[in-house]
Subunit: 357 residues, 2 copies
């Protein structure tokens, strides 16, 4: 138990979920489903059942420090790794690995996003237990692959190779998001799984992999070995973190390493990456509308997702739209066009400054 | 001048303009166009240029007393005729006539709604002056007819007979709202004018007409002659007003009387009865959208009217809709279905009580 560590990554801005997700309070800090707990709080709640509280780290951006302290008062401030700039997941994971290695060189680490939805907690915990057992006994990089239930085009897929025991396989390829036709082929083949972005490894395994595949990152963090967990760490990071290349752990390590394995999982997972993925997950009324946190009167309206907290929303003749309001922004957008929301956010910032983003 | 009187009718609930118009603050009390003055204030502002302040009366429902006193502090409380129940325009006009007769039996009265838009104030004042001159010298019931600029199906029309001088004609018929085909014929004929619901008459003329065509109303108000402008008037009205039949002055008197004349007018009038009529009046952007009181980003969206005060509204793929939010209600409704808004209000009341209406 005491070798188990967790890194919850929560530095994202979640702009595809605008206007709910805002630069100063992105999606992971929101109580999206009205359960009373934000996504990051729910993520913490899950891991604290398996991992000692003092071994749980939050990796995030400096600007979210106060939000994290407020939402997770159980977390000590020295467990929050605050990145001075956004550099994607590889530098984040590298820092966390070197930092944890300095505390416990035998650490086994699970790395997970803070803003995903997991409906079956029992299944999740059992999978994480199994993953810890696997990576603590061999130099493997383990990723979780979700059994796909539909030809989703919004996720990356993992193609498995040889099947070993207990749902653990070798990995043939990591793929980018497929088009609809390809996604269908993927799902029907039975060889492809959704890439959930949840990883497990021993701290030595990941450091070795970074040294081999991302030496420009590992060489910087090697230099910091004398300062991790000291007062000098903050200054060291302020100087070195921004100099790291902006690169994901998938692209930088997982797609290249030969000791990558996938653990097949099925725990009601969604990355909640977009309004559409939220729509797909949630219960619908008889006209296929999803209603979040508001009252509605619907007339000849179907296939919509409506999230306008605390209001009455009356819809007439609207089909397959996102209707989402938060604070000072109302978005009405065709569901099929939701990938453009990021552009809308950029446009809003260009045109009106920071008031609405 | 001192024989000139005005009755501003402001008891309506304006439910077609929901959610802006609410039962406890209907349309006439709203600063609809963001000018800083509500529609009733603008109506008062116009008449006070022609009519002594103490001769301006507000006829409304008891529930709006505080709103009127707040918005029109110049009006003395005894100039507000508060109806204990809604009974349409005939009982309202009858009471005002008997009440004013008790003050000045030579009064000439203009009766006007409080919630119309009039863009050309100078033309309006000149028409009202002309109307006063006309009705002060003969026993005529005069109504204003607006020169139609389009085949509007949302208005009643007045068909004129013989043309007299200065744009004053006899009246052949009053019509209900026509269908599109008929409206086109009306406008092309040149004989039809929009019924603006603005009337002028000498107090004796209207009392005589009510006595003749609505004796069940006049007989009640005759009984009150000893009490008008005394402390006993309120009790008298509380007992007698609710017993009046619910009937409009158009149907009860104007369509039946033979001394009805129409004064042709053209002063940029709209009854602002619906979102669509507001849309028609206002300036549009290059995609034919009308935006009120908010900022917008539009993508492939046209023909919409958007009124979501103080917010940024982002539209993608929306055409010919009303998007209106006020307080705790957001309405998204096809423009062509706006006549159903009244039903939506009824449904909201049935389902959720008074919270949203």
């Amino acid at each position: 138990m005491n070798n188990r560590y967790c890194v919850i990554m929560s530095g994202g801005v979640g702009s595809r979920f605008w206007p709910f997700s805002r630069t100063d309070c992105p999606k992971q800090f929101l109580d999206f489903l009205g359960t009373g707990r934000s996504l990051i709080q729910m993520t913490y709640d899950r891991f604290v059942r398996l991992i000692p509280k003092e071994n749980i780290f939050i990796a995030s951006n400096e600007v979210y420090k106060d939000l994290i302290l407020e939402q997770l008062p159980e977390i000590q401030e020295d467990r929050i790794l605050l990145e001075p700039q956004r550099r994607n997941t590889a530098p984040c994971i590298a820092w966390a690995a070197y930092h944890i290695q300095a505390i416990n060189p035998n650490a086994n680490i699970v790395v997970a996003p803070s803003d995903h939805l997991i409906l079956n907690e029992t299944a999740f915990l059992s999978v994480i237990e199994q993953g810890f057992d696997f990576v603590s006994s061999r130099p493997a990089l383990l990723t979780l692959g979700i059994t796909p239930n539909r030809p989703e085009t919004g996720y990356g897929y993992i193609q498995v190779g040889e099947n070993g025991e207990n749902g653990i396989s070798t990995v043939k390829t990591f793929t980018e998001k497929p088009n609809a036709e390809l996604a269908k082929v993927f799902v029907e083949s039975g060889e492809f799984f959704w890439n959930a972005g949840i990883f497990l490894w021993n701290v030595q395994s990941i450091i070795k992999a970074i040294q081999r595949y991302l030496p420009e990152i590992s060489s910087r963090f090697e230099e910091g070995i004398p300062v991790y967990n000291t007062d000098a760490e903050k200054d060291f990071i302020a100087h070195n973190f921004p100099a790291c290349p902006n690169i994901s752990i998938d692209f930088g390590v997982m797609e290249k390493a030969s000791n990558v394995f996938m653990l097949q999982a099925d725990f009601g997972w969604s990355d909640l990456g977009t309004w559409g993925s939220l729509y797909d997950r949630l219960a619908k009324d008889k006209e296929d509308n999803v209603v979040l946190k508001c009252k509605t009167l619907m007339y000849e309206s179907k296939g919509n997702i409506v999230a306008v907290p605390r209001k009455l929303v009356v819809l007439n003749g609207l089909e397959d739209f996102i209707v989402a309001e938060s604070d000072n922004v109302l978005l009405i957008c065709k569901k099929e066009e939701e990938q453009r929301i990021r552009q809308f956010v950029t446009d809003a910032k260009m045109k009106f400054g920071d008031e609405f983003v």
